[in-house]
């Protein structure tokens, strides 16, 4: 997966988690949770979906890497390159 594929996959996951999410209005450099007005329980679902879809284990101490859309892409790029 390249950066664009990862971005599309993330947006699909977010859209699936939150039917109210306005994906077009997302600022890729601002924290996802604030923009989407989500709970930490929703945030866990992004991690769980990544695990389910790509068998990717994200340790809890690395969750801060997933704060913005761009930081997610940067974090996931090396991990999903072979997929």
């Amino acid at each position: 997966m390249n950066r664009d594929d990862i971005k599309d996959a993330l947006l699909e996951i977010i859209g699936d988690i939150d039917e109210e999410a306005d994906l077009d209005a997302l600022d890729a450099d601002k924290p996802l949770r604030d923009q989407l007005d989500l709970d930490s329980m929703d945030f866990l679902d992004i991690v769980m979906e990544l695990r389910k879809r790509y068998k990717l284990q994200i340790p809890e101490d690395e969750y801060p890497e997933l704060i913005t859309l761009n930081s997610c892409i940067k974090y996931l790029e090396p991990k999903l390159r072979e997929i």
């Binding site: 989407l36 929703d42 695990r51 389910k52």
Partner: protein, 468 residues
Amino acid sequence: MAADYQLVIIGAGLSGLAAGIRAARFGAKTLIVEQHHRAGGLNSWYTQAGRLLESGLHAMTNCVPPERKKAPLNLIFRQLNLSRREFLIQEQWTSEIVFPGASLAFANDPALLAAEVERQFPGSGPAFQSLREAMTAFDPYKPAPWQSARAFVLAHLREPLLADMLLLPLMLYGNAEEHDMALSAFVILFRAVFEEGLFRPAGGIRGLLDLLLRQYANFGGEIRFQADVEALLTKGDRVTGLRLADGTAISAEAVISTAGLPETMRLTAGAPLQWPQTACACCGAMSFTETISVLPESARESVRQDRTMIFYHQGQRLRYQRPDALQDASWGIICFPEHFGDAQAAESEFSVRVSNPASFLLWQELRAQSAEAYRLAKQQCRTEAVAASEAYVGSYTGHTLHQDTFTPLTIARFTRKAGGAIYGSPVKVASGETPWTNLFLAGTDQGLVGIVGAMMSGISIVNQRLLR
């Protein structure tokens, strides 16, 4: 050898179904075992004489529009990957709290209750406002020692009657203790009932249960009905599975019990590990009788048509306690299940449900004497409950098309709640932990009540204990 299931959940009530959806959604091989042939537990439905009747809660709490994303109801829908937009709801009309010489109306607009407090208790408006502000500042989910809701409310409102009036519906909405309630529960329920408000799913409880069962099946979850758990199987500090009454053994990597604290203790009896709680302290005292009367359209003329629920109390001071009688009809809830949503769409028949505090022990003693004595007492309690409610809503005795009454014994039989205690044990285990490292409690005895609370409980136990 791999276990049969990664997770087995005891009970297909609202907490068990929510826990099951959560686990199955992320790929855990999950089984729910339910003793009854139908899902829902306390909040379910049955048919009688061609009519669908509902049991359990009269209305759901936490009514908010889909845009309020942080609100519990919408969070639950996201967690279960269900569309909140497609879940149609019907809001309550107006409900009322009635004590001798005083009444307070409330609806899903909190301004109405504030105005009513000022109308009934002139000059109390600012004190009521300060109570609401103090509750906003209080975090009910933060672990803390038990604090008295009664003392907290009285510290703000100097009117004991007003305090009792506010406590009555919230206690009736889910307080397992007698006399007082935990401040945390009061704050959660105040928000749920008075600030957010009451509603019914447009499809009734059956519609909600079908939605949850479908979603659980979508994610590959399995369910076995009429599967009566006889014992939990343990080895050292771990649960290895469970045995059903028909002898079937099912192995599991983890078990969530929604059967309540006393019942879960019973299922582990004989195991070497000891519970920190004692069984007798965990059996709740608060149980109820309920009479449902189905009435024809023509009865609308004689029965009050402007209220959804009436929380009534004939005594001057609130006595939230188990009666020393089969039933205490001097206080309780009257609910019109059809008085939600669009009045125009009201069905021709309508019903009245009256719920009153009752003593499980006395019903149990009576039933042990004879089936006939039990039947006659049920008849007598029905007559008294209906008569008590007629003082508030008008006469309907002569109009009844169909009636059904259930007692604490009925509740215990269908829900497994020990002592028919619908709000469970007065001892709550917020962490869901048990002496076994892979056995967790969810549901009422984890401390969250009502349909929304039960679902939140199932979700959060799976999130905290299994999805990490």
